[in-house]
């Protein structure tokens, strides 16, 4: 019995040893295979990094090449452009109708070529993340009106009516006006190109119903529309809808790609509606964020607690010496003052906030990205401009001003920026009112300048 048991134990021992050996062998095999896998992963990662580096290098070389080529192409193009306009302006002698027509065709094509060169460069910048935007507070209506105006002649020639629809009160947007013009120019150029004669192209602007922090701008034409399968892809690089009108061949297929990149840099979106039973023609929509004081100041605040600029709040108070003759009269004074103040600002750095009426006085607030010295320059400029305006002086308006450096560190502690600015503005207004009530330093035609750090 004991022998039997002993044998069984030995067998179990043997089995155990075999099993352990097999496990050790398998572990070893697994370790080798694991090592090989790791090596393979490492090699692949290395190859991928190498490929990425090489891709970047290729893009950089391509960018340099395009920049060089575009520079070399521009100079002769400029000479053709100059002599064509010299002839069209009659500086080379009188032209007959045919000659004028031919020269106008030349000029149109020169401009087309110039746009293509611009597009090539912009697309190459987009690929290497070198597209830049300089954002400030911008009136959508102004930008759109200027772009639409520049297309009036081209549209009229094709018998196309250009329409601007501005829905409701439009707040200013936080955008690079040059870039938004570039996007709108591209969309309108396409819209006019694809629209049949005697049709309408509309630019519509409104606060975006789905997200009221954005303005929605839409360009609608009466062209052949875009099939659903192309609707997404029209924003791809070099994409052109096959079988589209002959006219479309004039572009490089980069325009909408650049638009998408530019709108992306503005944190907006761009899309196109596709053809359906209900929809004819094409509408391209894009969104741009509405301007807020936060948007202006946020980039300065987040720079590692290190401020690129200081921020000044300036208040200008306008108070009538005698009651207003009429509401119209009051309104005129407000508009005049607003225009003068706007001329004293740097649009990409300063913001004029909406006018506030308090205790029979009007308060204009300016948030300016500058320092104490800059605010003094601004205040003296504003004072000169207001004092030099005969209309305002004869209307019997007294102006007083105050400025204060905004403490960014405190803003962080005190909650929302807009609230903090409102509180400081109220404080400044109160101090202005106190000085006027005390009457000590105020004479007609002179204004109080109060500074406080």
């Amino acid at each position: 019995m004991n022998d039997k048991l002993y044998r069984k134990v030995e067998e179990a021992d043997e089995l155990n040893k075999t099993l352990e050996k097999r496990i050790a062998d398998r572990t070893w095999e697994l370790e080798i295979s694991n090592h090989n896998l790791k090596k393979e992963v490492f090699e692949r990662q290395k190859a991928e990094a190498e490929a990425a580096r090489s891709r970047e290098e290729q893009l950089r070389l391509k960018g340099e090449f395009l920049s060089h080529v575009s520079h070399e192409l521009r100079s002769p193009l400029s000479v053709i452009h100059q002599f064509t306009t010299i002839l069209l302006d009659g500086l080379g002698g009188a032209l007959n109708g045919d000659q004028r027509d031919y020269l106008e065709i030349s000029l149109r094509n020169v401009n087309q070529l110039k746009m293509m060169i611009d597009d090539l460069l912009e697309a190459s910048r987009a690929e290497t993340s070198k597209l830049t935007v300089r954002r400030s507070s911008v009136s959508t209506t102004d930008v759109a009106a200027k772009v639409v105006q520049s297309f009036r002649a081209a549209a009229k020639e094709k018998g196309i009516k250009l329409k601007i629809d501005s829905i409701g009160e439009l707040p200013p947007i936080y955008a690079d006006p040059g870039r938004i013009s570039q996007v709108l120019t591209n969309l309108l150029d396409n819209a006019i190109k694809f629209s049949p004669p005697d049709s309408v192209v509309t630019v519509r602007m409104e606060v975006f119903a789905d997200d009221p922090a954005f303005v929605l701008i839409s360009v609608t034409d009466c062209g052949c529309g875009i099939e659903p399968e192309h609707a997404e892809r029209v924003f791809d690089r070099l994409y052109q809808v096959e079988g589209a009108l002959q006219e479309s061949r004039r572009g490089l297929g980069l325009g909408l790609y650049i638009c998408k990149e530019l709108i992306g840099l503005h944190s907006g979106a761009i899309w196109v509606n596709s053809k359906s039973k209900r929809i004819t023609g094409t509408t391209v929509h894009f969104t741009v964020p509405i301007f807020t004081i936060h948007a202006l100041i946020a980039p300065i605040v987040v720079q590692d607690g290190h401020l690129a600029f200081s921020i000044i709040l300036l208040i200008v108070e306008a108070r009538p010496t005698t009651p207003w003759q009429s509401e119209h009269h009051h309104e005129q004074m407000l508009n005049k003052t607003y225009q003068i103040l706007e001329r004293c600002l740097l649009p990409d750095l300063d913001v004029l906030l909406p006018v506030q009426n308090l205790a029979n006085a009007d308060f204009f607030s300016i948030v300016a990205r500058t320092d104490q010295h800059g605010s003094e320059v601004m205040l003296s400029r504003i004072r000169d401009q207001l004092a030099g305006n005969p209309g305002l002086q004869s209307a019997g308006v007294r102006f007083s001003m105050a400025s204060e450096v905004l403490d960014i560190a405190e803003i962080g502690r005190e909650g929302p920026l807009d609230q903090c600015i409102a509180r400081l503005a109220a404080d400044l207004k109160e101090r202005l009112r106190m000085k006027i009530t005390n009457g000590a330093q105020h004479d007609d035609g002179k204004e109080i300048i109060a500074h406080r750090r």
């Binding site: 521009r74 193009l77 400029s78 002599f83 010299i86 302006d89 500086l91 750095l349 500058t370 800059g374």
Partner: protein, 131 residues
């Protein structure tokens, strides 16, 4: 006729010819320098009312010419308008910083250049960017 004297610093003969036709038609007197070295001596000799400057020049870059003009006490106030094929994204701020009145990229709209010349020759009491 304005009788104002403009110095065009430009090495491309065809561009010079086109600019000459356009500027003379507006009543300007035109003198031309075709490289960076003769640009300074011509400017000293001719004392122009305004300078139109290309950036890519034989004998030295246009920016060097701006620096030289700006450091000469006789010429430091003469307005300079840069007309170049180079990318305005990088070169325009550089030119304005160096003291140019305006920057135009080739091809440019003639009317824009002409009104900029008028503006530089007759500065309005408009607000300047002091900050």
């Amino acid at each position: 006729m304005t009788g104002k004297k403009l110095l065009l610093i430009e090495d491309d003969k065809d561009t010079v010819r086109a600019m000459a036709v356009r500027l003379k038609s507006q009543g300007y007197d035109l003198v031309v320098a075709s490289d960076a070295i003769s640009a300074i001596s011509t400017a000293r000799k001719e004392k122009p009312d305004l300078i139109i400057l290309d950036l890519g020049l034989p004998g030295g870059d246009g920016f060097v010419v701006i620096d030289r003009l700006r450091s000469n006490c006789e010429l430091m106030t003469v307005p300079i308008i840069v007309v170049s094929a180079r990318d305005p994204k990088y070169n325009e701020p550089l030119a304005i910083q160096a003291g140019a009145h305006a920057f135009f990229q080739k091809p440019f709209e003639t009317t824009d250049l002409l009104s900029s010349i008028l503006d530089a020759l007759n500065p309005s009491p408009a607000i300047r960017r002091e900050r």
